[in-house]
Every structure is written in C-alpha cells, then in structure tokens.
C-alpha cells in the first residue's frame, strides 16, 4: 500500500524571517492530510516524480485517453443505512450485525434519514440537479458477502444528477482550472467482506460492513490522464471531508475509486473499448495505474492490435507497477433491477433542500478562489485549502488580525514541518490561531525579532502558552536601543582585533562574523537591521 502525504518541506536554516521555500521533492498535491485517528498506522511511501512524468509523457500525440471514474464514498453516519448497527472500521468480525444487515428471514430495511441528508449535501456540492422524488431499487446477484441476495441501490432515478466539479491542476502539471462533469450520485448499501483462509480451502464472511451507507459518484468521461483523474478523486475526498459526510480514507476503503480507461486516435469521436481498473489504494497508485493502462492500450493501438483490448476488469499490482487481468466480462450482467418494495419513495421538499443548501460550509473551490483573491500564490492556495482543518486554522488566524501572507508562510513552513516531524495534525498542536496571530503582530511591531519569533513558535507548538508570557518570562523583547547595540558592537570589535585588522585589510566578508558575534552577545535579541547598520558604521570608521 502506498500513501502519499502532503508535500515535503525544506526550511532554510539561516533565514531570520520565516519564508516558505517549498521544495516539492516527493509526493503530489492531490494528496490530503491523514485524519488523526488513523495516522499512526499509516506508512508513507514516496512516489518518484520522474517515473510518473515519464509515463505521462509517453502517450504519443496521435492518441488520446478517455477516463471516467466511479467513486464509492462510505458515509460516516452513526448507524448503518437500514438498521441501527454502528460501524467502525477494523472491529472484530461479525460484532456489529443484526437480523436486518444479516438478511435474516422477516427482517426489513428502514432508511436512516442521515443518508438522504448526506446525499443531498454532496449532490448540492457537486452542482447537481436533485431528484425531488426518487426511490430505491434492488440490484440482484448472488455472492456470499451480499446477505439478501440483492443490494439496495438506486437505478433509474438517482437522487442527484448532471453536476460538475471544478479542480485546480497543480503548477507542475501545467496548472489551470479544469471542470469535470458528474453524471450521477446515488445512494446504496455496502456489502460485507470475504476472508479467505491461507490454504484457500474455505472462506469466511464478515458482515460488519454489510449495510453501511455509500454514495456512488459517477463522473463523465472527462479525464484525459492519470494526474487529472487523481486530482478529480482528491477533490472528491476534500469535498466529502469539508462536508463532513465521510472520512474519505482510501486505506480503510471509505473512498474507493474504480476507473474506466479507453484510448482512441485523436479526432475519432467514438470511444475505444473501455477497461475497468480496480485496486487503487491511493491517488498516486491511481495516477500510475491509469498512465500504465494508457500506455498499454496505446501500444496495442500503435501495433495494430487494438482488437486485443477487451472489455474487462484489470487489477493494479503495486509491486510490479502494472495492471493484470482480473476477469473478462462475459456479456452484460443482468442485475434484474426493480423498485425496492420494502422502502417508500424518497421525497424531498424544497424547504428541506434549502435548509441544507444554507447550511453548507465553504467548499474547497470557494476557499481557493477566496485565498487567490487575497493575493496568495497558487501553491499556497492549494496547500491551505487542501486540508479542511488547516484551512480553518488559517482562517481563524486571519480572523484574529494576521495578514494572509505571513500567516500562510508560518503555517506552510515551520508549522507544517513540525507537524510532519512529530506526526501530528493541525488539531493536535498546542499553538492556537490567536497566538499565531499575536506572534506575527509581535514581529511586525518590532517587539521581537523573527529569529526569536521562531523560537517562541516551537515552544508554542510543543507546549502551548501565550506569546506575551513567553516574551516576558524569557526576557526576549528585541533590543532596539541604538546606544545599547552600539555598546555591544564596540565591545565585540574590541575583543576581536585580529579580525578587525583582516576586515580593514579588505576581507569584508567578516562582517557576517561580527554580526553573528553581536547577535550572540545580545542573545539574539538585537534588532538585525540596527545591528548591521551600526556595525558597518563602526567597522568602516577609521578613527
């Protein structure tokens, strides 16, 4: 399993003021921070940029890929879709089941209204038309993880349809805004899980997941490469987290993407034969799997062997970095859909929808546009809006009076580095937006130097407390009295006659040495501007 965290940061150690020098080495922007609860269990696998772009640019210009995505979002409702069982990932097999989700004779489903609320939220956020009168249908097939022999789903009248999703493509992939169409969003229930014994002589069924609510989001075939597909999926993840309808965790299967990939010669309007790719456990594997699949299909096309591209389901193998055949489709499966007679129609009132519309939070796209208007660079914008909690922290800092640029810089450099090193999320750190704002104000007002500011920051991050307290307790107020600084400068010069001689002999680089010594003598509190000004005066005065 691979997992890509947010970008790696490198902070220049000598700069006195916090600056965001963002060196993206590994990983991509489509990734999102890990939710707190599961973080410790995650491992981070880095994806090499070069291998990714190699694949990407391998697509010859004569062909284009057409990609559509089906995303299953597991809803974070307290109970399952049609019964009162709670669901939590990883609990003991069959410990959270009841007659309803086991499909016992005589048991009936009763819809959890939260499922409708979440579906409407997501439908609105995806700019869809809502069906004010929709229904559930039964999708019928036999499998041991499907207790009733049918899945309760929505067939011909999905609760939401015909929407779109706006995505910002990161600069390194050309940047810009893309709009991807959403075909439909519908409600359905999850199935259980099969556990196969090592010897393979029998299988066991775990029904904990059976009946957990899902929203299936079907995109239009609007994506053209792995990056676009991964960006689309990452935006869906951001969206469901912003809306609070799902934890969006791919490793736990709370967000599952199946992609359909086909290739056609440029200019041809008919789609090529599509292949479904499964087992995509991260955005990065999604991107790589698609790019691999595109190259595979393009190769077959260019060799005149496009008839070897068949409608099938292929599995992404992380180990060998390729897709392999899982099952060929033998004709179309007939699911014999018909309206679910155990559940009444789903009727939405305008009032209900309006209520949800007004309660929607600011969505990632809206946030990015707002940050952009504040004058932040695209990288800052994407980073800050990427994680709902970071965005909230940032917004709270601004609300306390900090300016956007400084707040963004602090968050993206030192705070992000700290969280990464300590494996914490922004909700875990002891620093509050109020204190960050105070810190920025203290530096701006010249009360402390930037360097001291950074020291205070790390103390705030680790231990909490207030900026004012720390400054007072440690006597960290910046020295801005020229007389006092001059005294220190004179003292340092007197104590270093050799270096002074060398300096005056032309080795002016030694100015840095003197500055450092003075700063050291002031315990870092001297105002650097004043210090340098006075130092130069003294060094150059030929008395």
């Amino acid at each position: 399993m691979s997992y890509t965290m947010f970008r790696t940061f490198q902070v220049h150690p000598f700069l006195l003021y916090p600056t965001s020098i963002l060196k993206r080495r590994n990983g991509f922007l489509y990734s999102t921070t890990i939710p707190k609860a599961t973080q410790s269990s995650q491992t981070e696998t880095k994806v090499s940029t070069s291998s990714q772009s190699k694949n990407l640019y391998k697509i010859p210009k004569d062909y284009e890929a057409v990609i559509g995505i089906e995303t299953h979002v597991q809803l974070s409702t307290l109970t399952k879709a049609f019964c009162n069982c709670p669901y939590s990932y990883g609990s003991f097999p069959n410990s959270s089941i009841c007659p309803v989700c086991m499909g016992l004779p005589g048991a009936l489903p009763v819809l959890n209204n939260k499922v409708i609320e979440f579906a409407v939220k997501l439908g609105l956020a995806l700019n869809c038309n809502l069906a004010f009168n929709s229904k559930f249908d039964r999708k019928q097939y036999f499998y041991p993880d499907l207790p009733k022999g049918y899945q309760i789903s929505q067939f011909d009248v999905p609760i939401a349809a015909s929407g779109f999703l706006d995505v910002d493509i990161p600069l390194e992939f050309g940047g810009g805004h893309k709009r991807f169409g959403i075909t439909r969003v519908h409600m359905e229930e999850d199935a259980g899980k099969l556990m196969h014994t090592e010897k393979g002589n029998y299988s066991q069924v775990d029904l904990n997941r059976a009946g957990v609510p899902l929203l299936e989001i079907v995109s239009e075939p609007d994506m053209r490469n792995g990056i676009e597909a991964a960006e689309y999926a990452a935006e869906i993840q951001r969206l469901v987290r912003y809306l609070g309808v799902s934890n969006g965790n791919m490793q736990e299967g709370s967000l599952r993407c199946d992609v359909n990939v086909s290739v056609r010669p440029i200019g041809q309007s008919k789609f090529g034969t599509k292949v479904e790719v499964k087992n995509l456990n991260s955005f990065s594997s999604m991107s790589r799997a698609i790019d691999f699949e595109i190259s595979r299909q393009v190769l077959l096309h260019s060799q005149g062997q496009e008839d070897q591209i068949v409608q099938e389901t292929r599995l992404w193998e992380e180990g060998s970095q390729r897709t392999i055949t899982m099952r060929k489709k033998e004709g179309l499966a007939d699911y014999r859909y018909f309206p679910e007679p155990d559940l009444p129609s789903v009727i939405l009132s305008q009032e209900y929808v309006d209520g949800i519309q007004t309660s929607l939070p600011e969505l990632p796209e809206e946030k990015r546009r707002r940050y952009e208007k504040m004058g932040l660079g695209m990288q800052d914008v994407i980073f800050l809006a990427n994680d709902k909690n970071i965005a909230e922290f940032f917004d709270a800092t601004l609300a306390k009076g900090a300016d956007a640029k400084s707040a963004a810089n602090w968050i993206m450099s030192d705070i992000a580095a700290f969280m990464k090193n300590e494996k914490l999320t922004i909700n875990d750190i002891k620093l509050t937006p109020e204190e960050l704002s105070e810190l920025i104000a203290s530096i701006k007002g010249g009360i402390i130097s930037g360097k001291i500011g950074k020291e205070i920051l790390f103390e705030l991050l680790a231990k909490g407390g207030s900026v004012k307290e720390i400054i007072e307790k440690k006597d960290l107020v910046q020295i801005t009295d020229p007389v006092e600084i001059e005294k220190m400068v004179v003292k340092v010069i007197e104590e270093n006659p050799k270096q002074l001689e060398q300096y005056r002999g032309g080795k002016t680089k030694l100015q840095g040495y003197f500055a450092g010594q003075v700063m050291k003598a002031s315990k870092g509190k001297a105002n650097p501007g004043l210090l340098n000004k006075i130092l130069l005066e003294k060094l150059n005065s030929t008395t």
């Binding site: 007659p99 004779p105 005589g106 048991a107 009936l108 009733k148 018909f338």
Partner: protein, 541 residues
C-alpha cells in the same frame, strides 16, 4: 376416523367452553328471528368470554389451556395443522403465570390466556420458523415478529406454528415441505392455503385465534374453505417485520377467528405503526369493537342505508353454482338488514390474476434470494461457490417455489421487464383506481372468497393453472392494498358434512372498523348456520 374421537369424548365434554357471558352477543333474542331453530346460535367472541371467565375466576388459564391442548392432541393426528407444538408444560407454565397475576389482583392484557396459533412464516424467537420450507428446517429466529411480540405482550400464548404452503406459495397447503393439512369439515379435502394450518386450527378449535399471512388470498381462501372468519387488513396496517417476505408489496399478516369479534380483537392487538417496517402505516388504530352492537339491541334494519355492491364478475361463469347461490343468499340477507344491494361491474377484475402473478413472482424471486445456505438454513457442502448455491437451493426449495422463482426471474430479466413487470404495475394502478371508484359509490363490495368450496387433496396438485385461477376472487384486493373480511355465510351440500362457503367483504383502505361492524351484524343475524365442523362439534358448545 371420527370413531377415534369417540372414546375421549367424555373427557372433552367435561370442560365445555364458557358461553354464558358476553357483552356482544346474546343468543336469546334476535329481532330478526325468522325461523325457530333452537340449535343454532350466533358465534360469540371466545376472547371476551375467556377474559370474563378468568377475571370472575370461573375458569383458570391453566384449565383453559389444558382443554385446548387436549382437543389439539386428539385432533392433530387427523388434521396435521401444526408444524411445531411446544411441550404442554411450556404452555401450561405461561397460563400459570397469568393465573398468579390474576390471583394477585394484577392487570392482565386483553389477550390473557388466549391460545394463538401462528403461521410458520411468522418469526417466533422460542420456536422454529421454517416457512414450510426444507431450506429452513430447524431454523430458529433470534427475534419475534412484531405481531407476535405484541400479542405476547397482551397476554396471548403461542400454542404452536401452523403448516403452510412453502413460503406461502400455494392454495392448498399441499406445497408444504413437511406435511399436508386436512380440512376439519372433511379430512379428504384441502383446508385451502397458504395459511391452511392456521385456518384448520381455528376451525377445529385447536386454538382460539390464529395469525396467517395473505399475499393473494392466503388468509381469506382457507377461511372460506374451513368455515372460519378471516381478515386481511389494509396493506401497512400490521407490521410485516418478522414475516418472511413472499411479495413485499402485497404481503399482509391477517387474523383468523371463530367470530368476527375475535378477529377484530386480534387485529387491534397486532395493528399499528412499527419503526421496524417502513411500509407500516401511521394511521391511528381505532378500537374496532367500540362500534359493535350486541345482537339483542339490534333494530330491525340495523344496516339501513348501507350501500353494498356485489361484484358482478365474481358470480359469473367459472364459479360453482353452490357458491353463487350462497352469495346471492348472503346478498338477500344484507337486504333484509336494510342495505341496498346492487351489482357492480369492475371491468379490470379479470386483469388482476395475471398482474398479480407477474408482480408476486417477480418480488418473490428477489425475496427468496436470501435462502442461499450461507448464513443459516440447510447448506449443501460443495467445492465451488456456484454448486454450493445451486445444490443448497435445489435440495432446500420445493418444486412450486422453484417454478415461481424461475418465472419471477424471467419477468424481471433485461428485455422482458417492460413487457411483464412494468405492464403489471400499470394494471395494478388501473385496478386500484377502479376499486377506489367502486368504493366511492358503495360502502362495501361483496364477492365469494373462492370460486369453489374445499376440493379434494391432490385434485389440483398437478394443474397449477387451475389452482392459480382459484385466486381470482382475492388477488385484486392485495393489488389494491384494501382490507377484506371473509366470513362463513352458508354451505354447499357434501358428504360427510356440508362444506362452508365464505363471503368476502371488501372495504375502503384503513376502514377495517366498518367491515368488522357490518360483518358482526351479518354474523349475529345469520340463521340456521353453525360453523363448527362435526369433528369437534361435541366438544364445543
């Protein structure tokens, strides 16, 4: 076979069931008495007389239970109504608890001491529930159906699980995987189905009342065949939670009793909204009995002004002459009671049968998918998953069930959905509308409950179409979701005894109260009819 009952008759006659006190009925003076027949008396509410006897300490619940159990043990070898009967002690100890409560002056529920038989497709936590199917042999549900839970809470005692056509698929109870139930009026005949066991059990007084289920007539037709009162409530009136689904949009749990009052009391006990059934209605459940008049207080025209529509299509060709004449006599009786009776035509009536079978079988093909041998029920071991499914279902399900699953699967298949399922839904809408129109003009609609009286065991077993055609009288009511009450209204001559004919009364949605009121008056004023089969007549007063 009656001879086998001769010896213990004396012991049975020792405890005659209480018959003296009832607020509802009196056999003394009917103002409508036209004949002087001292032997017939209108049926009385067993439930009310039991309650009275218990509360006045004339009878203990234990004695009552013993008397029923004795009759049950005597008659059961001839009838085979039950698939499961708990040991006597289980029932006696429940009765004992009630006696102690009564002795302590504590409240007991309105069904206290009432022995209720429950159809085997209705889940009971402490007894097997097989739905009459081999695939669920020995299956014990971990919960009580809502209807069972309610009647237990009100003091009812479940006396056993009754035989039925496998998963409700049949009209004779011959399609049970385990046994064939006999009709108490003539043990060479079928009791009807699919709730044949529940109907036979009430008819033979093996229990006081019973629960059945009605998807296309499975309560009403056996009630007619067995000469008992059967009530199919409005769709949604009674929770289906715990009823093994046959066709979810048509299924209803129904009630059997030996009087209209008893079915009304039982319905009141089990009706109402249930948060575990999304299709159960929030309509208020009225006290059905509060509108009942006792027979003695009836005026000469107690149903004056009531508009009764006799559905013309139900008394035409294909319906036995004896049945038609009994229904016409019932119509005359309504007129004597002050009703205006007119024939009404429902042109869509004959469309009901094909539409019903398409919809019911489509839904059943889906509902029965869960019987796959994976989680419960009988599993046939196999090396491959497909064989596990195939073999478990091949061995566990009967031929009638398999045929219906195949037909339903076909009707829902791609390319056929529009021609069958969708079209049948359109027909259903037409039928619903035509019933609504007719019920705007008439207060109740009447028809036979079945085109014939009970037929011989085996007679139609190999002719499914003839058997399906027998459902013509009842399926429309399920398609329209309406309530219907069947009560015995006469006999067709036969040997060794006459066979009862059931009258079906159809009312507006959620108007069971009116059906019960009218049915009660009809029943209390009907002369010369005693619907107790000869098999048990001596032990029932």
């Amino acid at each position: 076979m009656l001879s086998t009952l001769q010896t213990p008759r004396s012991s049975l006659s020792r405890f005659t069931l209480p018959s003296t006190i009832t607020t509802l009925a009196s056999n003394s003076q009917s103002t409508l008495t036209t004949t002087q027949s001292p032997t017939t008396s209108p049926p009385q509410s067993q439930i009310l007389s039991i309650r009275h006897s218990l509360l006045t300490r004339n009878l203990s619940a234990v004695d009552l239970a013993r008397s029923y159990l004795t009759r049950l043990r005597l008659t059961e070898p001839h009838l085979r109504s039950f698939l499961h009967i708990p040991d006597d002690q289980t029932i006696i100890s429940q009765a004992n608890d009630l006696d102690r409560r009564i002795a302590a002056g504590k409240d007991v529920g309105p069904l206290a001491g009432v022995l209720v038989a429950v159809k085997d497709n209705i889940c009971t936590a402490d007894m097997p529930s097989t739905g009459g199917s081999r695939i669920l042999q020995n299956y014990r549900p971990p919960f009580d159906a809502t209807a069972v839970k309610k009647l237990k809470e009100l003091g009812g005692i479940v006396v056993g699980k009754t035989n039925m056509d496998e998963f409700g698929m049949g009209s004779t109870t011959e399609a049970s995987a385990f046994q064939v139930t006999a009709n108490p009026w003539d043990v060479s005949r079928v009791p009807g189905g699919s709730s044949g066991g529940s109907a036979a059990a009430v008819s033979a007084r093996q229990c006081v009342v019973s629960l059945g289920s009605d998807t296309g007539g499975s309560v009403r037709q056996p009630a007619s065949f067995c000469g008992v009162v059967g009530l199919k409530p409005t769709y949604g009136r009674v929770s289906r939670f715990g009823l093994m689904a046959y066709a979810s949009s048509l299924d209803a749990i129904g009630c059997f009793g030996s009087s209209v009052a008893d079915t009304g009391i039982l319905l009141h006990a089990i009706a109402g909204h249930d948060r575990f059934d999304a299709t159960s209605s929030k309509q208020e459940v009225p006290n059905f009995l509060s509108h009942f008049d006792s027979a003695s207080s009836l005026e000469s025209k107690p149903l004056k002004g009531l508009r009764v529509g006799l559905i013309r299509e139900t008394i035409e060709d294909g319906v036995d002459a004896g049945v038609v004449s009994a229904i016409r006599a019932a119509a005359s009786h309504f007129e004597e009671l002050g009703c205006s009776v007119n024939e009404v035509s429902l042109p869509s009536f004959s469309l009901g049968l094909p539409a019903y079978y398409v919809l019911a079988l489509s839904e059943s093909s889906s509902n029965l998918s869960r019987y796959d041998g994976i989680r419960y029920g009988n599993q046939v071991h196999a090396d491959e998953l497909d064989s596990l499914y195939g073999d478990s279902r091949a061995k566990g399900l009967g031929s009638e069930v398999k045929m219906r699953i195949l037909m339903g699967t076909y009707a829902l298949s791609a390319g056929y959905y529009d021609a069958y399922y969708k079209r049948a839904q359109q027909v259903r809408t037409i039928i619903r509308n035509s019933f609504k129109e007719a019920l705007d003009q008439y207060d109740i609609l009447i028809s036979p409950a079945a085109p014939s009286v009970a037929y011989k065991i085996g007679e139609k077993k190999n002719d499914p179409l003839a058997m399906y055609a027998g459902d013509i009288m009842t399926v429309n009511v399920n398609l329209a979701g309406l309530p219907a009450l069947v009560l015995p209204c006469g006999f067709v001559d036969s040997e060794p005894a006459g066979l009862p004919v059931g009258l079906q009364m159809i009312g507006a949605a959620f108007d069971e109260g009116e059906l019960l009121r009218v049915g009660h008056i009809f029943e209390q004023t009907l002369e010369n009819c005693r619907f107790v089969p000869p098999l048990v007549a001596d032990s029932v007063e």
